[in-house]
Amino acid sequence: MVADNAHHQDALQLNHSLTNAALARQRFNEAFMHRRSQLRRQWVIGALLIMILIGISSVIGEVNLVHLWDRLPRFTSYFGRMVPELSWATLWPDLARWYWNGWVWLAALWQTILIAIYATLIGIVFGYIASFLGARNLSPHPSYTFFTRRLMELARTVPELVFAVLFVYSFGLGPLAGVLAIGLHSMGALGKLFADVAENVDLEQVKGVRSTGASWSQTMVFGVTPQVLPDYLSYGLLRLEINVRAASILGFVGAGGIGQELYTAVKSFNHTDISAIVIMLIISVIIIDSFCSWVRGRVIGRDNLKAI
């Protein structure tokens, strides 16, 4: 023991002597310079590669700046046609003429929002269940993780519009197809986000619940859910915002909501109708977005402030 200690102290003294410190610094400097030149080379190669890729993709994608410049006036004149005739003297009659179909549009808008809410609920419920199976640290078996993750990928890579077309074909025209289409897509997106959150839980707390003889599902509810709830809620509300926007165009394929009206307006060249509907949409999206971020701020803010 004693001999061992003495030897240990010798080693300490050597390490602290001046010559060794200078040597260590020199060795570090060499390694540092080498690493830096390596990084620089990687950066140059990376930048060149990205520039080449941009060039290739602009050729393949037929991105033509001259063409864009030539046709810009057409785009602006289309906007011009969408502006209704309004004058101060006859403002109310003008507005009434602009929003001649306002009540119908409002009902359609309401339907759009309901589609978004129901779809988000579907996404949250199924995403919640899938998240525990898809989280690598919680799943009962690695194969569950694999299949759940692949299923979620499938559900969120297929665009909502494609799902909507399929569901309109099988369930008929109307909001049900929209709810299912957006719900499925939301499940895929939320399931993945939720699973990523669940992979960061404190496993000590989970172990505490598991040690009592709780079943797997009980452990998820009592050990994991309290930890992930604020994040799940936050992502769920974010999804609601996204879904309102998604639901607004589903009508294009007959899956209900304001999109149907917008589609009719575009097809029948009622240019002022288009602007009327789009303005209603923008206002409702703004209202819902600010409502969601207010709730989110309250939910997360309260907790994070306490942690600091």
Partner: protein
């Protein structure tokens, strides 16, 4: 496995040649002991000696690589499904870092100790029976925490949190309590109250207690028997009085480690 091979008595816990490896390293190796019902046993040893692994194996939060654990003649190491969950209920754990769910209130944390008691399904939706709730409050009262029941667990001090963890263990109605360094994160006063609580439970309710301890004086003060582990093997197993300087040196392997534990 033939259960008759093992001595079976009410409340008797037996391990035979228990071994657990993590990859190349061996955490617990050739561990055999018998603990009769109602004994309070301290398990001592340096960090990394395999104390935690041994308790986690006993509760089956970890599976042994080989060897057996018998409780009343039943082979614990081969249980699975509901029988395994029921065993965990019978064999409550207390952890160094308390392992309460921070964002749940104290009462719900204690109620998690009732999750394995039937009916189990309603509990998945947070529906506990009146009886479960009464038990939880009783347990909290026993530990002097009934007035904290509705606070969030992370608002309590360390000593209070550990006593909530003991309440959770109590409502499991366990046969055995496994305490993994229960006082290592606590100051001396809280350490005393937690160790007192464990000893009282042990004596009044005839519950076997296996307790990993870092401090030899605490082990001698509170326990009937001491098991010393070194590098995963039992190097001492006997009454507190028999643990002399020589035995201690064998458990801790070096003077510095020993001084740390005294």
């Amino acid at each position: 496995m033939i259960p008759n091979q093992v001595r079976s008595a009410p409340g008797l816990l037996v391990t035979k040649n228990l071994e657990r490896r993590f990859g190349e390293s061996i955490a617990v190796s050739g561990v055999s002991f018998e603990v009769p019902r109602g004994q309070m046993v301290a398990i001592i040893g340096r960090s990394g000696a395999g104390k935690s692994t041994l308790l986690n194996l006993t509760n089956r939060l970890l599976d042994p690589t080989s060897g057996s654990i018998f409780y009343e003649g039943l082979d614990i190491a081969r249980l699975n499904g509901d029988a395994l969950l029921a065993w965990r209920r019978n064999c409550a754990m207390i952890f160094q870092r308390f392992n309460l769910v921070d964002r749940l209130d104290v009462l719900t944390n204690v109620l998690t100790g009732r999750l394995n008691h039937p009916p189990r399904w309603p509990k998945l939706f947070g529906r506990f029976s009146e009886e479960d709730r009464d038990r939880a409050i009783d347990a909290l009262y026993t530990l002097g925490l009934d007035d904290q029941a509705l606070k969030r667990a992370d608002q309590l001090s360390g000593g209070q949190q550990q006593r909530v963890a003991i309440a959770r263990a109590l409502v499991q109605e366990p046969k055995i309590i496994l305490a993994d360094e229960p006082v290592a994160s606590l100051d001396p006063i809280n350490s005393k109250s937690v160790m007192d609580a464990l000893r009282t439970i042990n004596q009044e309710r005839d519950i076997t207690v296996l307790c990993n301890l870092h401090s030899v004086p605490l082990a001698k003060e509170y326990c009937d028997r001491i098991i010393g582990l070194n590098a995963g093997k039992i190097v001492f197993d006997g009454a507190c009085a028999d643990l002399g300087e020589e035995e201690l040196f064998e458990v801790y392997g070096s003077l510095t480690a020993l001084q740390d534990a005294l």
